[in-house]
Symmetry: C2
Subunit: 362 residues, 2 copies
């Protein structure tokens, strides 16, 4: 890798400009890239109390040097901050900091910060521009791309939100070096999901031993997959974008029943993928060898395949029934008859889900 | 008026269908018209505790008769309900009522309900369809058209929100018969504003003695003015839509300083219009006779032109400085050199605002 040459990921959304760069050393170029992207005025860097001390100073310095008055707004780390009360508090802090409709928000952190700060940018004065600086694998390959923003409702994850595309996404691979091991590994659940739904060859290239500083091409490849699916179905209407929910119906149910924080999102997704593989095996012709290949890849990254006993099948099914992927009473569920070729099935039954959840017991 | 023939107002927004009907007897046709508009699934009727008892039963009955399972969600009447906490509570009640991404929200009430319920529709599961049933003059001629939704932040009015166009707007003129006199009259502030910015001839047709049941053509004419401005600048980017803010910088400051509820919105707008006329007179060549004509029209509808002494000029200026119409430090302010031809001036100073506010003292 040439440290001076980030990879540019193409994102083609009608009527919108979204520039996506992947590589080392991007944090220090935030201000310059925001300037090139046509942003102006004041800005607020929203981050959490883990990421802020590691990376905020460089981002703020870069913004100030490029002539953007910048304020740092940290929130407590973790899923609990992804709620409407914290979003409202952030809006108040944006007002206090003098941000107006010509200002912009920078989301510096993982998926929680990207979703929360993105939602704040979406609703502050009916929407101001957003820069995403994802600092985890999952945020870089998945949540920073596509414009989904939101917070959790008391009754479930991501039930409140808005579509709000970022103007600029800076995936600085240097930030991955500071990720704790568990947070690093969980990100590969979404990478493996991308392989399963769209790019089976990607799976062969995944190796837990790859040095973190060499990940830029892999991240760019995943962002490209995500961006292509989003471009085909920005507002989740044609069904294309629903493919990204592979494994997520059960993952959200697990997070909901276990309580946020017990499982990292990628860990819940790993279990959700295992359940989706089981349904794909039993009912849609997925070969056992293919399912095993995917499960082995999840295991190689230390991701769970076995559900703790205290999460009962009934509780998970009830939570899944409240999940937003169930439309007008029918169960719509992403299945994968062969790796790289997922589709949305309309005929998955509650019994299928029950059997798949039960298959995750040790 | 033929009771069977509502007036259809043309709304031309790129990529969106918004049908707008004005006339008597529309509430009872809600279900049928929702069906014709392609809506389906469950729905929630959000209303307030004043409007609900008067009109909700008919709307619910119509929806149920057309096959839409409908739930009624009342909130306390008044501006205090227009906040993020009530929006979150409504999202929880939508989840509880089983609304999913295929469901829709009906906003039944005045401007507060339209803004609040519209915002809930905008953020619930990242946006579900919205039907506006405005029951006040101001909601019918102004806030139900154009897709602005939102709630108040602790520091100011409408600082949190989203653009979310309704699929269907039903302005049932029968609902105007039940409006208390003060709420009826305040609505004409926005009508008079439309005349001032775009349609001077409209002003001659305004007569407080017009029977309420004869208002459909006037309301349709105002909706048409609003819809044309919105169509030219849906997301408030070109400056066209900013014309609708004529009188609103000071109006919002008054509402903010006086505390929500002391002035009705239209009353604050009346004072804001008087201030904007003063600036237009002093600096932009508006003829005294024209300003007098507009002020006389406001008076004829019992709308205030004089500011109470306890609202100090300093406090109003400070509140105006926080208002979102001030972009990047410069003061952008809508002025009116002659009736029907407003524009956004870039060179209004704080001193101009101060003098205009002082001119409102008795």
């Amino acid at each position: 890798m040439n440290a001076g040459a980030p990879i540019e990921v193409p994102v083609n959304l009608p009527g919108q400009t979204c520039r996506v760069l992947v590589g080392p050393g991007l944090l220090a170029r935030t201000g310059q890239l925001a300037r090139e992207g046509g942003l102006h005025g004041r800005c607020a860097v929203i981050t959490d109390e883990n990421v802020g001390p590691l990376h905020a100073a460089g981002v703020l310095q870069s913004l100030e040097a490029a002539g953007f008055p910048a304020v740092l707004l940290p929130v407590p780390a973790g899923e609990r901050s992804k709620c409407l009360a914290v979003a409202e508090d952030l809006c108040d802090r944006l007002i206090e900091a003098g941000l107006d409709r010509g200002s912009f928000v920078v989301a510096l952190g993982g998926g929680v910060i990207g979703d929360l700060a993105g939602f704040v940018a979406a609703i502050y004065q009916r929407g101001i521009p957003l820069v995403q600086i994802p600092t985890t694998i999952v945020a870089q390959v998945d949540s920073s791309i596509g414009g989904k923003t939101g917070v959790n409702a008391r009754a479930g994850k991501n039930l409140i939100g808005a579509f709000h595309q970022p103007r600029l996404v800076l995936a600085d691979t240097d930030t991955l070096g500071t990720l704790p091991d568990r947070e690093y590994r969980e990100g590969f659940a979404e990478v493996i999901k991308h392989g399963a739904i769209r790019d089976a060859a990607l799976l062969d290239e995944l190796d837990p031993a790859t040095p973190r500083e060499n990940l830029a091409p892999l991240i760019a490849r995943n962002m490209t997959i995500k961006a292509a699916i989003v471009a085909a179905d920005e507002y989740e209407q044609s069904g294309q974008r629903a493919l990204l929910n592979f494994g997520h119906t059960i993952a959200h149910a697990i997070e909901n029943v276990a309580g946020y924080g017990r499982f990292l999102h990628g860990e819940a997704v790993s279990l959700g993928l295992a359940a989706a593989l089981e349904i794909s095996l039993r009912k849609y012709g997925l070969a056992t060898a293919e399912a095993d290949r995917l499960r082995a890849k999840l295991s190689a990254f230390g991701l769970p395949l076995t559900l703790p006993d205290d999460l009962t099948t009934d509780a998970l099914l009830a939570a899944a029934g409240r999940d937003k992927k169930f439309s007008t009473g029918r169960i719509r569920y992403v299945v994968c008859p062969r790796l790289g070729a997922a589709f949305v099935a309309e005929d998955v039954s509650e019994d299928d889900l029950r059997a798949a959840i039960d298959s995750l017991r040790a």
